[in-house]
């Protein structure tokens, strides 16, 4: 079956100045301008944001489920990479 939908766009919304744009979902749209308008109507009706980014979904390269073992599991046995692994010495401020 042919896909008769418009192309898919991923939508990122910035909630407040200075914080990163966060992925909120996707919309269909024929081009970038309409994608921004659709994102506005679908995702920012309740004061969720001050800025919108849209990216064509097919422009995103993603890791695959098969990558999971090699990519992510080696970090599971390296708890020393987390800051919480280390005890904070008494008397240290502003850490």
């Amino acid at each position: 079956m042919n896909d008769t939908q418009w192309p898919l766009w991923e939508v990122f919304v910035q909630g407040n100045p200075g914080i990163p744009h966060k992925h909120v979902g996707s919309v269909h749209a024929p081009d970038a301008e309409i994608a921004i308008q659709n994102a506005r109507d679908v995702y920012t009706r309740r004061s969720e944001g001050i800025s919108i980014w849209v990216v064509p979904s097919n422009a995103i390269s993603a890791s695959t489920p098969e990558d999971q073992g090699a990519f992510f599991e080696p970090s599971n046995d390296k708890p020393y990479r987390h800051p919480t692994f280390y005890k904070i010495p008494d008397g240290v401020k502003y850490l």
């Binding site: 939908q5 418009w6 269909h28 024929p30 309409i34 308008q37 659709n38 506005r40 109507d41 679908v42």
Partner: protein
Amino acid sequence: MTLQQAKFEYLLRLGDSSLIIGHRLSEWCGHGPILEEDIALINIALDFVGNATSILAYAAQVEGKERTEDDLAYMRNERDYRNLLLTEQPNGDYATTIARQFLYDVYTFFLYEELKKSKDDTIAAIATKSHKEITYHLRHTTEWMYRLGDGTEESHQRLQNALNDLWMFTGDLFDMDEVDALLIKEGIAPDLEKIKEAWEKHVKEVIIEATLQMPATTIKQTGSREGRHTEHLGYLIAEMQYIPRSYPNTKW
């Protein structure tokens, strides 16, 4: 005619146009050409109904006969409505809806810009809030004018047909009578001649940019100021008023 009567009449014109075009757009709910566009149109419909609520509430207050905005919206008959003829025209295909909306959005964009400066504080406050919404409405319809006009052969032809068919109702937008004269004198309402100039210039620019032709129709249908409507309004009102008339004073 007293100033109070003129103001009431003027508020009905503004409020009824918002109510009727809002209702027309709401008819698309669940029928939009694509999910995202369905949501966009209903957002816009809600803006209009919200604007109508504010204006008709103020109209009821100005009238001072203990009617509410709901009484005005749901308990009047066709001939009592003062909405523009353009706003009651049927949705037709999507090009017709976009053309109708575009012609109306350009009108409200310039009209409400002037109403922001109204010497009536309530009108000025409502206009200030609404103008932000209208700015988005116009952006939305303008983008669709370009895409349908400069799109496929079929979308171009459909939009051109829609413009040609709706053009005869655009004269009604700028009709003025003693209500306008009185309110212009008081600094409450703007002179529609000025709005007309801005409207014609802007509409023409977009039509040309969208690779469309200006409609050649010179016949103009007017009558909304006296409540003389096209045959479409009666059906719309029958549907819109059915619930409140069948179950008066029902509360949600």
